[in-house]
């Protein structure tokens, strides 16, 4: 089921930072996730692409909550997108889907950030 550890790639775009995750976030990998993402949410909107994330435990969900909260304090957003079925099912089961900004695809997440930007410009 899970063969990888966690690989994180970061791409700085004009209106957002795109973070792509490959592998799993568990008790052994969540610290990398914290270290790489915490500075980013203080700078810009962040889109986290979950497409290649196979597994997330409570430690990872806790980090996402923290990143969402830090980002809000700076007036930015964290949008998570393309979640695999077991992950979205579990987030919904524990009713945390209301706490996160979740989009079905990366395109939808980018559209959301762009429409925010246009609204602010008006």
């Amino acid at each position: 089921m899970f063969d990888d550890l966690l690989k994180i790639t970061v791409k700085d775009e004009r209106r957002y930072i795109l973070v792509s995750l490959v592998g799993i976030i568990d008790n052994n990998t969540y610290l990398d996730f914290v270290k790489r993402c915490t500075p980013l949410v203080n700078k810009k909107n962040v889109i986290i692409n979950f497409q290649e994330l196979k597994y997330i435990s409570s430690t990872g969900i806790g980090v996402l909550l923290k990143l969402t909260s830090l980002s809000k304090m700076k007036g930015y957003r964290v949008v998570i997108c393309a979640l695999r079925e077991p992950i979205i099912r579990i987030i919904k089961l524990i009713k945390m889907d209301k706490l996160f900004m979740i989009e079905e695809s990366m395109e939808d997440a980018i559209d959301l950030i762009n429409s925010d930007y246009k609204k602010k410009k008006k």
Binding site: M1, N27, Y55, S57, S58, L65
Partner: protein
């Protein structure tokens, strides 16, 4: 009738999730669940055992001396998989309710909430004679 199918001691290190995966997948296959059902039920079982062992690793282990082993026992019967997780860290009191304020302010308590939500049964007790913490979870299949 219930059968014990796995009885293993593990070291709670970085490879334990792979052991938990392999064992849980094998046990679910032995339990004979349908393919679709097995996928998500196995995922739930792996996650629940991972959460319990990670909690022991984070909270129990720091108060213990010497080698620290966690004993995992898996049992199956016609309609249930049951897992017993035993270890010798100091006795503790798991919270009995989900505290959303604690989760939102301190980002903790999510693991146990997951276990209670995903499993059909969760029970903790302390065996006084052997000084052992025992967590028992079960999943209907």
């Amino acid at each position: 009738m219930e059968h014990k199918v796995v009885d293993i001691n593990i070291v709670p290190d970085h490879v334990f999730l792979h052991s938990v995966q392999t064992i849980s997948e094998a046990v679910m296959a032995m339990a004979g669940t349908g393919a679709m059902k097995t996928d998500y039920k196995t995922y739930n079982l792996v996650l629940a055992v991972d959460e319990i062992v990670s909690n022991i690793y984070r909270h129990g282990l720091k108060n213990s001396k010497g080698d620290f082993l966690i004993n995992l026992k898996y049992f199956i019967n016609d309609d249930k998989v049951r897992v017993e997780i035993r270890e010798g860290a100091p006795e503790y009191t798991p919270p009995t309710t989900y505290d959303e304020k604690m989760v939102l302010e301190k980002y903790c308590g999510i693991g146990l909430h997951l276990v209670r939500t995903l499993m059909d049964e969760y029970k903790y007790y302390f065996e006084k004679e052997s000084k052992t913490n025992v967590v028992m979870i079960s999943l209907n299949i």
